[in-house]
Symmetry: C2
Subunit: 505 residues, 2 copies
């Protein structure tokens, strides 16, 4: 631990001193104080150290949210280990790829995911131990083994620049890359949220976004740094969410469509009290945000621009302060826009959003060449487009054409990975996948397909074909067939023209 290092474990230790008897975590009937959380984390870190974990080792976790998952966050911070939370919506092949890429020494899985991992065990020669959250089977040992009383973990060399969280995102050629976030980057993100949302020890976060998403992890970490509490929901469940909001006086949560709309509908019917809410952050339709703020005027809906690679929000504002925008650059980051030659652009011009500052991630795991490109000229190139208005506010303008991305319900879907699967169908010759507006999910996936000569297939068949091969949230909601795709003079598919012609639901 260096002289100028402060880590996410230091936060837990501070909380145990300053807020020892205050609630840190809530799950169903169970409450864990900050003092108890430190004790749980220390015990688990001791068990992981006995199991051979040393700084820099990875722990993969494939599980729904739980207290144990959050214990793993703390223990990884304590040990200088890297936590690799895996999206459980991915297909078996995708999960195998992520695990192989991260090469964790230890794999932790929820009961419902053990069989899938056990089936691919041969692909994981690096994995020394498997632990089960829930009933163990096959190669899995009980997770409680790790928390048995034993020797404490030795002091670990963990620095502000040490990697802490690996989030697989930013697929290239259908393969996601592991963005490695540091302690220091996440602490800077926390510092910003503490300020903008005025977070304190009385705040309560509703942790219903999955912990494999940065938004889920980031809100937990920020409220924790404020000394507040997080309610752990295994996954989104509107009735459970509303019950907790009311009984635990939840003040803050993150959401992706259609969560907020669903909550509002249920709350209207059930007469739930949401008056404790102060800050909600996410993506949503202006109508839904408007309904929410009208019904609960004590709450503010926050919007911003961020991605896993920048550890959180680098622009932020209350939706009402500039509806439709992504807000103003926050106070610990330089945010700029560049053209293809990396010339910084003036107000009003659209360019690629680039970021410099302590929140920029340490790089994609094992992708030195990609990192050199992404970080060229001293800025992280996000692949997103935007423009600044006269007040310095950022307006998001979609993905850079070379880096298209569709976001159904907040998930990242890269057209290339869907197109690659579609054309594996014997009846299909080629396809372009695009995002279209969607009232429920914010954005939906549309496939524009060309059949092979003499072949035919239905839209439902295409959707099912894709859904059976990659994560189901990546399957198209809409499929259109065309005789031929438009081409550029050079003969390439003219994706922009496809979008212009088919870019509506």
């Amino acid at each position: 631990m260096g002289l100028r290092d402060y880590t996410l474990f230091d936060v837990i230790a501070r909380n145990a001193r300053l807020f020892r008897d205050r609630t840190a975590l809530i799950q169903e009937g169970q409450r864990v104080t900050h003092g108890e959380y430190l004790a749980r984390v220390e015990r688990l870190a001791g068990g992981l150290a006995s199991a051979g974990m040393v700084p820099g080792d990875r722990i993969a976790v494939l599980a729904q949210n739980s207290l144990e998952f959050l214990d793993l966050y703390g223990a990884a911070a304590r040990l200088g280990a890297i936590l690799v939370p895996i999206n459980w919506r991915l297909s078996a092949d995708e999960i195998t790829y992520v695990i192989s890429d991260a090469a964790p020494r230890i794999i932790v899985a929820g009961a419902e995911y053990q069989a899938g991992i056990a089936a691919a065990e041969n692909a994981f020669p690096f994995a020394e131990r498997y632990y089960a959250l829930g009933q163990p089977a096959g190669p899995f040992a009980p997770f409680a083994d790790l928390g048995a009383p034993g020797a404490p973990a030795p002091a670990a060399e963990v620095g502000a620049d040490s990697g802490f969280l690996m989030i697989h995102t930013a697929a290239v050629g259908g393969r996601p890359r592991g963005a490695l976030l540091s302690h220091g980057g996440l602490l800077a993100a926390n510092a910003q949220l503490l300020h903008y949302w005025r977070l304190g020890p009385t705040d309560v976060n509703l942790g219903m976004l999955p912990l494999f998403h940065l938004t889920g992890a980031g809100l937990f970490l920020a409220v924790q740094q404020a000394g507040g509490a997080t309610v752990v929901l295994p996954r989104f469940d509107p009735e459970a969410a509303l019950r907790h909001i009311q009984q635990d006086r939840v003040t803050v949560f993150g959401e992706f469509p259609p969560m907020l709309g669903t909550l509002l509908e249920h709350a209207e019917k059930g007469g739930h009290d949401l008056s404790s809410l102060r800050a909600v952050a996410g993506l949503d339709a202006p109508d839904t945000i408007g309904r929410f703020e009208a019904a609960w005027p004590g709450a503010t809906f926050w919007v911003g621009y961020g991605q896993s690679e920048v550890s959180g929000f680098v622009t932020l504002c209350a939706f009402r302060d500039r509806p439709g925008s992504a807000g103003w650059p926050t106070f610990l980051n330089a945010v700029s826009l560049v053209d293809d030659l990396d010339t910084h652009l003036p107000v009003g011009q659209t360019g690629e959003i680039v970021v410099r500052g302590p929140m920029v991630f340490t790089g994609y795991w094992n992708c030195a060449a990609d990192n050199a490109l992404t970080f060229r000229n001293g800025w992280h190139h996000t692949g997103d487009l935007g423009r600044f208005d006269e007040t310095g506010c950022l307006w998001y303008a979609g993905r850079s054409p070379a880096k298209e991305l569709i976001k159904p319900g907040g998930e990242n879907v890269y057209p290339a990975e869907v197109e690659k699967v579609i054309v594996e169908h014997p009846a299909l010759l080629e396809a372009v996948v695009i995002g279209v507006p969607d009232a429920q999910w914010g954005e939906a996936i549309k496939a524009v397909c060309v059949c092979r000569p003499g072949q035919q297939v239905t839209a439902a068949e295409v959707i099912e074909f894709v859904g059976g091969r990659i994560a189901r949230f990546k399957k198209p909601k809409h499929v259109t067939f065309v005789a031929a795709l438009p081409r550029t003079p050079a003969g390439a598919i003219d994706r922009q023209k496809v979008k212009d012609e088919h870019g509506r639901a």
Copy 2:
């Protein structure tokens, strides 16, 4: 500029985009917007670059607070230069020492300090240029020469770890050492104040503490990062302060005794309106703080523990939340207590305050051996004593015996430097200098002296003798004569016994 670097100049550039037309600085009738401040800083940086300044070079400034002084703060940040603001209360010899230690390429001085510097010019072979704030004389050129339109400064390699501010403090053997603070350390200090004081673009700081003090510089930098304004007062003047508080709606300031008491007295007589005040930070007597908060209930008096070496406050609380304490550790620093063997101490035990985290300074200038000692075992050893109570709150318990320090009116005075001068008096044999409580200044200096056999001298003579040789704030307020000083069994002067016997005003 590295990928993960964010600097104090980035703050100025962001302000110019987000708060362009809002007021950044106020001095007498003059207002400078954030947009204008960036332009002033860029012009001055261009001038300094033309004068040969490169990253890491020092600029010494001996001047009362002014807009130009704050321009120098910004220009140094822009260039990666190190600003060395000098305490104008120091004696000529002390000033010469500080300048020689920092070896600045450029020296900037207010009109009233030029003659002193010119007289010592031969001691400054490293100084290439002298600039005058006010009417220039001798080797000094007009400061305006630096701000003449010209080529902009080249892009500079400035990182979060780059040194920015050198503050001479922590004297050893009567010689202060230059504590070098980094951009990243000061930005972390800002982030904490932004959160705790909820600083925003509508805040107005009354800059009456001298800019050579970290408290003066730190409040300016924090309010600036929030997009707020600073009123520049050349020095403390109660009538001017009250006029600005009322007319500029000042919300925050820092103070050392007897400033607040003096302001309250003048305000009561003059009927000034102080209702705009929200946060005042400093040291003061409980009575004065109580009177202030009773008269202006919208304001909170903040206390904390900090020193130049940790870039600001590492513990903080509203005085009323725990009167007499130094508050709770802030959220970006680890604060602990150790014994002489660097064992960390439990709650309730008194030990040396040690700090780890991004706010720890880069070290004392040209003091590698001192730094190794000060930073041993991965913690900055502050030389101050404290204990934690059950709530994790810090209670200050004085200086470590080896590192005594007296703080009259917020200034640092080291007994050794005063004692060294006293015994130069031909009538005096030895002396011990201690701090005693003082209603006006918080603490006052008391000298306990032994005369040479057959010699005599009056208290007034001793005081005048010291005041003529070192900074006048270092001269004793009280002088007592004794036949002999108490000794330890080993024969050393028993300083603790002197304190026990004479430690009252």
